[in-house]
């Protein structure tokens, strides 16, 4: 399968594609995102159970994409494809400029060799071919289990005071390193609210107010958009359960608007659209 992937990328690069965002090796031999530019670069591609990176992140990297007019290729897993659909829905990237190479996936593992939580419940291991230009790899065998939202439910079972204590303790761990924000493909604002100086909406330091605002505002900005790739939590040096917060926001949008981000590339995001049957705030049940 890797050979097929390499050959396909080789062909793309020999054609009119400027570069391909793919999985390769870092200089110290670890699996890492790479930008393959010459056909020979395809020899260095990898595919293994450490390819957890969501490469769509680079589709919103201005240093990488330049003016966004070049034709480029990208390797995506089924979960990454959902993020790509959100980027297309939000008009951040042009489909006609992309050669989308999807890979079928048996799941990714963390540093200790355990299957990632998101992979246990994954229903897109076999990517939808209508969203890609090529699908590579054997049909996945593993049956996903249902997402029980246990982590979200545990917090929902807490009283408001308990929840405040819980999240305050979590956000106190935050260093404001911005790794979660910077690895998120959907955090692509030219000027992040948290970086703005004038006015300074969110304190720059790791103060209690600053940390809470940063995470809560980010959760709201990703509500109805986050496709749960889980990269934010993977990279957090403090181990903050960011995906729990994101999945909570996602479940609210799903329940209230019946909307699942990333299902197709031409969705109308609910928070920027109006429909006559939008839920009445009076009728929406408080959590």
């Amino acid at each position: 399968m890797l050979d097929e992937l390499k050959q396909h990328v080789r062909d793309l690069l020999a054609g009119d594609v400027a570069f391909v965002v793919a999985y390769g090796e870092s200089a110290d031999g670890r699996t890492a995102p790479v930008l393959a530019r010459e056909p020979a670069d395809a020899d260095g591609l990898v595919w293994n159970d450490r390819c957890y990176f969501n490469l769509t992140r680079y589709l919103t990297d201005r240093d990488v994409m330049g003016d966004g007019e070049a034709k480029i290729g990208i390797v995506v897993k089924g979960c990454d494809l959902k993020t790509l659909n959100v980027l297309l829905s939000e008009k951040q990237v042009k489909r006609e400029n992309l050669a989308v190479v999807a890979v079928r996936c048996e799941g990714m593992k963390d540093a200790d060799g355990n299957l990632l939580a998101k992979c246990e419940t994954c229903t897109v291991a076999d990517p939808d071919p209508s969203f890609c230009d090529r699908v590579i790899g054997p049909v996945p065998q593993r049956e996903p289990r249902e997402d029980d939202y246990k982590d979200v439910d545990e917090i929902e079972a807490m009283s408001p005071a308990e929840r405040l204590a819980y999240w305050s303790a979590e956000f106190d761990r935050c260093l404001r390193c911005d790794a979660c924000r910077n690895i998120c493909p959907l955090c692509y604002c030219r000027e992040c609210l948290a970086s703005q100086h004038d006015p300074r909406w969110i304190p720059a330091s790791s103060s209690i107010a600053g940390n809470r605002l940063f995470h809560i505002v980010r959760a709201f900005h990703l509500a109805g958009r986050c496709t749960n790739c889980g990269e934010c939590e993977r990279v957090c040096p403090a181990g903050i359960p960011i995906t729990t917060l994101m999945r909570k926001m996602g479940s609210v949008v799903r329940d209230d608007f019946g909307f699942e981000p990333g299902a197709t590339p031409d969705q109308r995001p609910p928070l920027v659209s109006f429909a006559h049957n939008d839920p009445d705030p009076e009728e929406v049940k408080a959590p």
Binding site: S26, A32, A204
Partner: protein, 321 residues
């Protein structure tokens, strides 16, 4: 003098009555340096910690002064209790001496100086580097004692050979005879041989400043601040207003706003120039200004980089160009 863990633990428990003890603890499957309440919290057999001990000398957030009706009232950040940093690795201890060059230089920072003064560093010699550690390539050693007041050398069976290195160390371990403060050669050789990662800092690194190399190696960098925040020698900071006070807080040179002036201009607007500047700051400018590389080879940047880049790689490849 050989001491068992429970003996050292009892010593820690006694010190806790009058001092703050910072030691490695296990949290969420990883190890962090935190203030502990009991010797039972200590992760004695840790390999590497996520955070370094930098934050106990350069606080991530520090109030500098508060506004009053007539002026500016300085706020003291001098700790109430003296502190022991327990089980610091040689790389992290050495990093403090490197940071001292800036903060205890021609304009000594009062808070940093007080925190250094009030802290005793008890080191733990390192017999378990991982694949990212490269201290021996940058003037350090897993058996190094630079920056420490005492060192514990693991004997392999839950005991430690305790060596005193300074008066402060003696005050923590008054019963330890203080004549011999050297780490045994056998341990040193074994420990240094266990280091798997080596880098070469080219002498002529400045010649490569204008090379395209920097554009290539920075392509996948996310410009997040993780490497800087975890690095024990990165010390760049921001100064901001927060309510009625002015605060100093950690900052990182990869940030979009680090060098951007109010009028909007930024001479390091391009990602590669920030990446290049960080490497040069550590491996060229700091040595020129202070005589030492601003890197201790702890490996945190490579170990924790969200996209598996590593600063060691960046320097290693320069020579080839």
């Amino acid at each position: 003098m050989i001491a068992k863990r429970d003996q050292l633990g009892a010593q820690i428990a006694e010190l806790l009555e009058t001092m703050e003890i910072v030691a490695p603890v296990r949290e969420r499957g990883r190890v962090y340096f935190r203030a502990v309440r009991s010797p039972d919290d200590i992760a004695w057999d840790y390999g590497t910690s996520v955070n370094s001990i930098k934050e106990f000398f350069l606080p991530p957030r520090q109030v500098l002064f508060c506004y009053t009706s007539g002026g500016f009232k300085p706020v003291s950040a001098v700790p109430e209790k003296p502190r022991v940093i327990f089980l610091a690795r040689p790389c992290d201890a050495r990093a403090l001496n490197i940071m001292d060059k800036v903060f205890l230089g021609d304009r000594p920072d009062e808070t940093y100086a007080a925190l250094r003064e009030h802290a005793t560093i008890v080191g733990l010699a390192c017999d378990r580097p991982d694949q990212h550690c490269f201290c021996t390539s940058v003037g350090g050693s897993p058996a190094g004692t630079e920056g420490m007041d005492a060192i514990l050398i693991p004997t392999g069976d839950g005991s430690y050979d305790v060596k005193i290195l300074s008066d402060k160390g003696r005050a923590i371990f008054p019963d330890v005879p203080g004549d011999d403060s050297t780490v045994p050669d056998e341990f040193v050789q074994k420990a240094e041989a266990a280091i798997r990662r080596h880098i070469t800092v080219p002498d002529n690194i400045r010649d490569s400043f204008a090379s395209d190399y920097w554009r290539e190696v920075s392509e996948t960098c996310l410009k997040c601040g993780l490497c800087s925040h975890l690095c024990p020698t990165c010390h760049c900071f921001d100064i901001v207003e927060e309510g009625d006070c002015r605060v100093r807080c950690w900052d990182y040179c990869q940030s979009d706003t680090f060098t951007r002036i109010a009028a909007g201009h930024d001479h390091r607007a391009e990602k590669f120039s920030r990446c290049r500047n960080r490497v040069y700051h550590k491996f060229d400018y700091y040595p020129e200004n202070f005589g030492v590389v601003a890197c201790v080879g702890c490996g945190r940047c490579a170990r924790h980089c969200p996209v598996n880049n590593g600063i060691a790689d960046l320097v290693n490849g320069v020579d080839a160009r």
